[in-house]
């Protein structure tokens, strides 16, 4: 029926080589940068095997990482389910660094490589470079160097202080990782390169100024310290403090310098990943939308064959499938599906708005240039604000969303809102709150400590919706906090409105541990 044009195609069949990858990249770049106006870091594409992909999985996708048993556990888990065929591997992993590194698997077909390059090397890459959270919190230029430093530092600590001692600090730090981020910008921006330099300087200074004589100088005895007001004391310690790792690193009285540095390393890494947790829907939505546009364009311009396009569509629809709530495969809302759906919806609002859209989105309805709007959205929002701004009634109806409330004091579950005029705003508000990490992570803060007295550290968990902490886990983590702190620690679960205390956990340090 149709004559296949060999000259226009980027590749034929499933096979590829490095020349093909280069051609694909250039063609994708022409569309992504030229037509969609994406702004990306230079790309570095690395071809890896399935084994190496499993390796990368184990270390949270980073190409190099310090050593810890939990990564070994993750590897064993992934490996065993992969070998049994329970789990497929991702087609790609992309790292927020400059140059932007994308791993692609060797067994992907040429079409899959095209998809992966469009998705990761352009979609994610653009998002990493432009989104305000990534700009504020991550340092794409320095991250690989910093990880190199972290790996080396922890190895040296292991050599000097033993595996067990380092492992204990890392265990505790990992347990507190979700409470080791600054949620609001502080005065100084983190710059990972200078972090590394600073630690070296500190060490050198210590060695240069070391003088054993100081040890022999008699001290005056405890001078009577002026009594600080409680308020002043707490201000000096920067209390209340929700970054528990930061607080321990700065104020724990009994930690060695190397232990503080390890807490710092884990904290920096947690902070680096913090934006990713807040932009899952947007990040995937952006990448999926980009690859969809680019692949479609490649097909329109005759650069990929009909067969390849069908292959692409099949994996695209797999990725963006959203099972309904009563489907046995339902596992929560698929961020790819929601993100892609919303991006397409925004495009629709820009180009073919209905009267309803004009009411709801007067700023963008009928603007015409959908890419400009999307680029602006990608740069300036995170999941929570993105959904609360741009989830349209049209999409709510299309998904037939409803809001279900489970109050244990009621005998039955309640349908709070559905996709109708009364429900749109309430649905949108509740959904956006689900993506607010400030809302989904338990709010735990260091409230007070009497450094002059018994040094007991007091933490508060501000209970939300009467949901307490997982008791067993809380006790374990608290034990680790106590070990780092060196004195007793108490965690109170408090109802913020009334100040009523639901529960109290107490932990005392194991003297022998540190």
């Amino acid at each position: 029926m149709s004559v296949i044009e060999h000259d226009g195609l980027l590749y034929q069949g499933a096979d590829w080589d490095f020349g093909t990858i280069q051609r694909i990249h250039d063609a994708v770049e022409a569309i992504g940068v030229g037509e969609l106006g994406l702004d990306v870091y230079p790309n570095q594409i690395e071809v890896i095997t399935a084994e190496q992909m499993l390796d990368a999985y184990a270390s949270i996708g980073m190409p190099l990482f310090y050593k810890h048993w939990s990564f070994g556990k993750r590897f064993a888990m992934h490996e065993s389910s992969y070998r049994q065929g329970l789990m497929g591997l991702a087609y790609e992993i992309v790292i927020n660094s400059n140059p932007c590194i994308s791993y692609i698997m060797e067994e992907n077909s040429a079409t899959m490589q095209t998809l992966v390059i469009a998705h990761a090397a352009f979609g994610h890459n653009h998002f990493f470079k432009n989104n305000y959270l990534f700009k504020e919190w991550t340092d794409a230029d320095g991250i690989l160097d910093y990880l190199e430093f972290a790996k080396g530092y922890i190895t040296r600590c292991e050599e000097r202080y033993g595996h067990a001692a380092v492992e204990r600090v890392l265990d505790a730090a990992h347990a507190l990782m979700s409470h080791g981020v600054h949620r609001y910008p502080r005065k100084k921006r983190p710059d990972l390169r200078s972090e590394e330099r600073r630690e070296e300087e500190r060490h050198r200074h210590q060695e240069e100024t070391f003088n054993d004589l100081w040890r022999t100088v008699p001290t005056k005895g405890a001078a009577a310290k002026p009594q600080l007001s409680e308020e002043r004391r707490r201000a000096l310690l920067e209390l209340p403090q929700e970054n528990i790792l930061y607080f321990l690193e700065k104020s724990a009285p009994r930690l060695q310098p190397w232990q503080r540095e390890i807490l710092r390393i884990v904290r920096q890494i947690a902070q680096y990943f913090y934006p990713q947790r807040q932009t899952k829907v947007m990040n995937e939505g952006c990448a999926t939308y980009c690859h969809y546009r680019i692949m479609t364009r490649l097909h329109e311009t005759g650069q990929i064959s009909d067969g390849a396009f069908l292959e692409f569509l099949q994996s695209h629809t797999n990725v963006t499938r959203q099972p309904q709530f009563d489907d046995p495969h339902y596992g929560g809302i698929n961020p790819y599906a929601l993100g892609f759906g919303m991006m397409q919806d925004i495009e629709r609002i820009c180009t073919e708005p209905t009267a309803e859209d004009r009411d709801w989105f007067p700023d963008i309805a009928g603007r015409g240039d959908a890419m400009a709007v999307l680029r602006d959205v990608w740069a300036n929002y995170r999941d929570e604000s993105f959904i609360s701004q741009f989830l349209s009634p049209h999409l709510i109806r299309q998904w037939r969303m409803f809001h279900l409330v489970d109050d244990p004091e009621q005998p039955e579950l309640l349908i709070e809102a559905i996709h109708d005029e009364r429900g749109y705003r309430r649905l949108r508000r509740s959904l956006s709150r689900h993506y607010d990490v400030g809302w989904s992570d338990p709010d735990i803060q260091v409230i007070d400590v009497d450094l002059a007295g018994d040094r007991r550290l007091i933490l508060h968990h501000h209970v939300l919706n009467r949901t307490l902490l997982h008791k067993d886990d809380a006790q374990r983590v608290l034990q680790m906090v106590a070990n780092l702190w060196g004195y007793a620690v108490v965690l109170k679960e408090v109802e913020p409105a009334t100040g009523a205390i639901f529960q109290e956990h107490v932990a005392h340090p194991h003297e022998t541990l540190f």
Partner: protein
């Protein structure tokens, strides 16, 4: 854009993490391995395989909300019939949420695959071969050769080419032997001048120089006997890394299939254990009734035989084989005997003497495993029933013979008995030191 091919990078980046993980969960994994080993056919032990340990031991706790209690809400897609204000029965199962939205990690067991080596290492971790030290010092040695630098004399096969050529090169440089290019250049220049057919001073000078250089080339050869180096070897004595394992079994009519199965399991364990410690392990199967014979494995375990029971015949057969093929100087000898304990009454003294004077002195280890039927395990302990062979060996042991003996009635006792026999001597002492 760069494309980098990482496929050839060395794999096993996670190896260090894996070792840390195994070390962390060692106690639990070891328990799991033992359990697996109990369920499994002993012939499968070599394979390694999947084990599962309680997730609790390798849990990574964090501050997280519990799934129970409190108000939870869900936004779900796919509404079909609900309107606002409807109430819905709680789904059964007590999960409390229609969506299964509680994302707490499962408390299930944690399953993963151990490699064969990891499996066996854990399986045989605190076992040790008895009396290895004594033998190693005394006789377990053999002669071998080891590289030991270079020498100026030797046979041509041992010529160290690289070293010789290096010496030649440095000698040529030191002696300023003219380089071939240098000669070539001179010759060309001379040829050029000769073509002009003028006997200039320059030509003469060049000819003289060439002559001088050629003489020098001849005087300092390209390679000289003085350059030659040979690889030197020196004899060393090495500990013997080979063992032979004698399996002795009574196959008279009184031995049931069940008893043979027990014996087989014990032999398998011993074999695996020995292969972990020695490079090369050979097995000799000797079965006996009133007369003994060396047989292959198949016959040993399967083919039926009838006759009386004379243990000394097997010991004599073993003695013969040791003398013929396995000199104690070169081999580590292990023997395991399985029997239901019957022996003909007049053979006791002969067996005891043979064992004490001939067999035990050449053996590293001699284990006697008395296999009983499944049903008489209740009796042991209550009734002081000792078989004739047991009595014989017990007397030997009391006299200080180096002999280990255990009684086994059931399959699941095999492994504990095996562990007990090969337990590391200092295990208890080591446990106390942190």
């Amino acid at each position: 854009m760069y494309i980098i091919d990482r496929r050839l990078n060395p794999g096993g980046k996670s190896l260090a993490n894996r070792q840390r993980f195994l070390r962390r969960a060692k106690a639990q994994i070891q328990r799991a391995v033992r359990q697996t080993a109990g369920d499994r056919d002993i012939t499968d032990l070599e394979r390694g395989g999947e084990v599962s340990i309680p997730a609790d031991g390798v849990r990574e706790p964090s501050f997280r909300r519990s799934g129970e209690g409190g108000v939870h809400d869900h936004i779900l897609p796919g509404n079909k019939r609900f309107v606002e204000g409807d109430t819905v029965d709680r789904p059964p199962g007590g999960g409390g949420s229609a969506a299964g939205g509680d994302n707490g990690e499962g408390e299930d067991d944690f399953r993963f695959v151990l490699t064969r080596d990891e499996f066996l290492d854990l399986f045989l971790d605190d076992l040790e071969l008895p009396d290895l030290a004594k033998r190693r010092v005394a006789t377990v040695e053999t002669q071998g050769l080891r590289r030991a630098g270079y020498t100026v004399t030797g046979s041509p096969v041992n010529l160290a080419l690289l070293r010789s050529m290096r010496n030649a090169l440095s000698r040529r440089i030191a002696m300023r032997r003219p380089k071939p290019e240098e000669l070539l250049r001179l010759q060309e220049e001379i040829a050029l001048l000769e073509k002009e057919e003028e006997t200039s001073e320059r030509l003469l000078e060049l000819r003289q120089k060439l002559e001088h250089l050629e003489a020098r080339t001849k005087r300092f050869p390209y390679i000289d006997p003085i350059d030659l180096r040979y690889r030197r070897f020196e004899p060393v004595s090495r500990p013997v890394a080979q063992a032979v394992m004698f399996c002795l079994m009574d196959v008279s009519g009184s031995m049931t299939e069940h008893m043979k199965d027990l014996a087989k399991r014990f032999y398998m364990l011993l074999y695996i254990f020995l292969t972990r410690r020695y490079k090369h392990v050979e097995i000799v199967f000797i079965r006996h009734t009133h007369e003994a014979k060396e047989v292959d494995e198949e016959t040993f375990f399967n083919s039926p035989e009838t006759g009386g029971t004379v243990v000394s015949s097997a010991l004599r057969e073993m003695q013969r084989i040791v003398e013929e093929r396995y000199s104690p100087d070169a081999w580590n000898i292990y023997a395991a005997q399985a029997s239901d304990g019957d022996n003909s009454p007049n053979d006791g003294t002969t067996s005891a003497a043979l064992l004490r004077d001939v067999i035990l002195p050449v053996c590293q280890y001699y284990a006697y495993l008395e296999v009983g039927s499944d049903s008489d395990r209740m009796q042991t302990g209550f009734i002081n029933h000792k078989t004739s062979l047991w009595q014989t060996y017990e007397t030997l042991q009391e006299q200080g013979a180096n002999l280990a003996m255990r009684k086994v009635n059931h399959r699941r006792e095999i492994y504990p008995v095996f562990r007990e026999l090969f337990r590391r001597r200092d295990a208890e002492a080591g446990a106390r030191v942190p």
